[in-house]
Symmetry: C2
Subunit: 456 residues, 2 copies
């Protein structure tokens, strides 16, 4: 990753919001309850079907956006002109600035069913209007990171390159590149992600470049003379064998890589490797890029492939395009100022009320055994446990180190360390139960105490 | 839809681009082929599994972005600093301005396998670097519109409300709202989409609003007094029957709607309707919003439901989160200036070379029978046929009427008209073959003639 400092400015984030968040603020201002201290929690009721773990991503983007979560003249004019809320609410929004506290799982951390991924403490009105935006960012980025992590795992150290920009919304593509690198990918094809987050970008040529020229030989010659012999030549436009021979003839044993984008990749990689070796191009790498997912990558493990380019499956979350996290009010103050745990009672979507605290329980070898959740208080640490909720925002100020390119590096390290802590079953791609169980500590309290900086 | 004029400015779009697009430009500038006239085509090899039609969406967004597809100092500094391309290429990019022509299926139009959805004619270099961005926009927005169209169809005239913002990237959410309305949705919860495209927005309150108050009655009272009796009360936080009785007691027969967000919606809608009627609230509507997709909507057809709020399934394309369109060089000039059809030969991803022309063949009743594609020339019109490729960009200028809020209305009308042309099998939700077959007219030419304005 380069340390290019980004010139990118986050767009205004305040209208990435559902209409009902603002009408709730209006009605709560009316009833006076808008100012009740409230604790909202982000969690997923379950992992995507058969997945063994999820990866938290998007936290850095979320905090970057939080700094620009303001209602300026354009937003206020729109809300006034369309009558979404009344003048009293517009006045509240005009001076809106999140002044509360946010704790969360560090970006890159693993999560499990009911892990309290983010805890937001503020007034109801201040925290309520962040709901849609918070969920958009975390649900998207975590879905991508969760898929990317399994792919990187399946690749067992061979570099994976994120190449899915064209298969998802142009801004999702930037976030997907970022999330992939956090979860272990080596680089991305997406230039905007390179600019914003200092990610390493990668690419050389597509079939159209070969088709543009009168012969494949002319195309290869043009690419080699412009990009140097270290480039990657795409060899499957016409006949792979002929292309590989031409490539080595033109570039010699300095040829960086050949790319295969179609056909039976396992068999093809085998004979292309033999052909390259027989031609003396023993250091020329083989890149494969045809509709790969974690299972295809695993199947290629025995083939002489040097790196994987992954597109569609990655940016669509490999079957789970959204992480399914929700944002729920779990505790709020009453007229006496005490905190009361709250939860919806409806049958198929029940939640556990009360403010949560979370530890990753580790055994004496440092291997994770449980996701331990305390309700209303921090669970007792048995000595090896790791605190999962870290402070991100304090009295409205985003704490240093959680945003920008540095946060991506930090999240990548967190992810690698958390993966290393997991028991061996984390490596299983097949469907199954979560790697570790989520355990609630006994004796949930109904009367919460506010989370203190110390407790986190 | 309101006619609020948007104050939103499209961000720079030039780096929503894969690294290899720019290295291809560099190598083609080196070989001289960069300036060859080229025709690229966007098409999908197939529809998502079992789907009978797709809906083109994103065209307006794409054209808005094309106006801002420029390389400014920030982008050039980044590309120079990271060494993505050389100085000669940077000079080309600094003065980049698309000067070619684009024809496409009108936004909202239906498409089928191999429909030539967009045709881009320019120099290779000018058209090549649009690839990633063009595909990102069309693949995302068309995936959402294709899912939304089936949901609107299943709703048979009952209004559908797009509510999926929280389940997808915050910018995808805006595009998804736009695509849904094009495909027949009545409104959206997304405020940013309201601001940018003049879409009608909708929403009232979530469970957190009820939980914030000491009793459900207090919450309902606050909402009614602030938002008026026409609001929609969420009645499933605790006990539905009790909530409905409280709601009508407080709001009387002027209560706008009750919302059900959990449980067996068919059975529940039945008895809630009876209860509302028995309490005299005969005009109070029932809105349902719990994990709906096109099949759940169809199953609710017999239930007394007035509108559907659709979230996750919509913004993830109901199982097909990307449309799978590709952008291929199909024809380019040679050194003599004539056009040559080109296509990749690789086995599992073969394309049909040559510039395409497309007509929707209609029978004497105006019902569609074929997607008729001519290669290298326009197919003969049998008198009832409808031209599918319309001019969008001429000599680099985006033609009026295809961008902004007006384009959304126009696309919505196009979609409705195209749906009305289809045979009855378009109404089948179950998996099957495309509603009409894609037919290539006989006698493909290998030597293309440039598309003229007249021919389109």
């Amino acid at each position: 990753m380069s340390d290019v400092s980004t010139t990118w400015e986050h767009p205004r984030a305040s209208l990435y919001t559902d209409h009902y968040e603002l009408t709730m603020v209006q009605a709560a201002l009316e009833s006076g309850a808008a100012h009740r201290r409230s604790v909202f929690e982000v969690f997923g009721r379950r992992l995507p079907d058969g997945r063994r773990y999820g990866v938290v991503a998007g936290t850095g983007r979320l905090l970057e956006g939080l700094k620009n979560f303001r209602f300026g003249p354009d937003e206020l004019d729109f809300l006034r002109g369309t009558g979404v809320v009344n003048e009293k609410t517009l006045a509240f929004l005009a001076s809106y600035r999140f002044s509360g506290n946010i704790w969360g799982y560090a970006e890159g951390e693993l999560y499990f069913p009911n892990s309290p991924i983010l805890v937001i403490e503020s007034t109801f009105a201040e925290a309520c209007i962040l709901e849609t935006y918070v969920l958009s960012v975390l649900n998207h980025d975590s879905a991508i990171a969760s898929a990317a992590s399994r792919m990187a795992l399946a690749a067992r150290g061979r570099p994976c390159i994120e190449m899915g920009s064209r298969r998802t919304h142009e801004e999702s593509a930037v976030a997907a590149a970022r999330a992939s690198v956090i979860a272990g990918f080596a680089s991305t094809s997406n230039l905007e992600a390179g600019l914003r987050y200092g990610l390493k970008t990668f690419g050389s040529a597509a079939h159209s470049f070969t088709l543009l020229h009168d012969t494949e030989r002319e195309a290869f010659q043009a690419q080699l003379s412009s990009l140097g012999p270290g480039t990657s030549l795409l060899v499957d436009t016409y006949d792979v064998e002929k292309a590989v021979r031409t490539a080595v003839e033109l570039a010699g044993d300095k040829l960086g890589a050949v790319r295969l984008d179609s056909g039976d990749l396992v068999a093809q990689a085998q004979w292309v490797r033999q052909l390259l070796d027989s031609l003396g191009a023993v250091n020329t790498r083989i890149v494969v890029t045809s509709d790969l997912d974690e299972y295809a990558i695993a199947a290629l493990q025995s083939a002489p492939v040097d790196s994987y380019g992954v597109g569609t499956s990655l940016v669509t979350g490999s079957g789970a395009p959204t992480a399914g996290m929700v944002y729920k009010l779990v505790s709020r103050s009453d007229d006496e100022g005490g905190f009361v745990s709250v939860a919806k009672a409806a049958k198929n979507k029940a939640s556990v009320g009360g403010r949560k605290y979370a530890l990753r329980r580790l055994d004496e070898n440092g291997t994770a055994t449980e996701e331990l959740i305390g309700i209303g208080h921090r669970p007792a640490d048995d000595g090896n446990d790791r605190e999962l909720l870290v402070p991100l925002v304090q009295d409205g100020t985003v704490l240093p180190g959680w945003t920008g390119p540095a946060a991506v590096l930090r999240a990548r390290e967190r992810h690698a360390a958390s993966m290393a802590e997991m028991p061996p079953s984390v490596n299983r791609l097949q469907r199954g139960e979560p790697v570790i169980p989520t355990v609630y500590e006994q004796a949930p309290l109904t009367q919460d105490t506010p989370m203190t900086q110390e407790a986190s």
